[in-house]
Amino acid sequence: MEDTAKKFLEAFQEALEVEGKVIKFEDKFREYEEWNSLARLSLIAMLDEHFGVQIQTADFDKLQTVGELFQAVQTKV
């Protein structure tokens, strides 16, 4: 796997404090038990800290899978 993709998945897992499972690009992240409005804040901080990007709510709400989020980050980096 590409370095950026690996780095993204690790940072994503850490931000959402997802434990005991492997995060995959096809996962619908809103279906994670750990997903809520507070996890959203952690994700915003992670995207800024590791990738220097901000995704506004109007765009973010269209994203369903971890892979779509990664794509959105890639286009902004």
């Binding site: 507070l38 901000q54 709510t57």
Partner: protein
Amino acid sequence: MAHLQFENIGIAGLSACVPANTVENLKYTQYFPQEAVQDIVEKTGIRQRRFAPPGMCASDLCFSAATKLLDEMQINREDIDLLIFISQTPDYRMPATSVNLQQRLGLPKTTAAFDINLGCSAFVYGLSVAYSFMQQPNIRKVLVLDGETRSKVYHPKDRQVAFLFGDAGVAALIEKDDKYGSSFFSLNSDGSRESLIKIDAGGYRNPSSIETVTEKVVDEHGNIRTDENGYMNGPDVFNFVIQEIPQDIKRLYEFSQKAPEEIDYFVFHQANRYMNAYLTKKLKLDITKTPTCLEFFGNTSSVSIPLTIVTQLKNSFESKKQLLLSGFGVGMSWASAIITLDNCNICDLIEI
């Protein structure tokens, strides 16, 4: 660019007042499950807030703070040439609350008085206006009153905002003295983001009606409010803060020719612990230099910066200190300043 510089003007005294009525967030569980409330408290760091009871206004909190400040510092009320009242929760839509406070505080009719309607950026904005007036030879002292009763703005059934906001009022006395040296301000605004924090109705664009005061479910999470309650798009406010505030502070360093190492305290608007901690981290600041009072008072909008100084830094100004202040929020509006405090008279916190 709205970069302002002033010489030999400063805050001589500061006083704060909060309602005695204390809300414990962990017990504020009538509308949401205990577990959800616990998660919110953990992330936001807000354990307690002060709620003004019905009939108590921001102006009452400011009145108490100002009375104590003027009495303790033995200030002749005749020397106050300007009174500014900062709030988005005034007594009435008209007249301006500042004018009423001129009379209540026993200030002379020769005192100029007006209100400033801004939110979390407003203390810094208000200071810049006070400092500007102080450049006039005939303006001897300025009283800046800043009060909010945000508890009355937000609906307790809207989880986005129900656990964040509290009430408080402050009074700051501005004077001229060579000891203050230079101070620097940076003022900003972005109306394209007006819908991030807003009360939709009750003004003249969408006047009050039966409909605007009717509770309704506003999102897929089942949050409930009326069109006359405030709402907030928390994620985009966070995006805004981490994008704009570090840039503004960097520009202020350049403008003032100051380095971060020269700043003794960084006093930020107290939004929530998670956001403030991230901002501190992003700016690479020492957390011992970023005082906070979120745990005890929550987000008190524009009052949070001076309230933090009064409650956390009371005995810190026996020697000269450089402070960087930064307020950001509704508008969106944001402002940062580097000011000097030297022997600032800080009164004990008042509870009414």
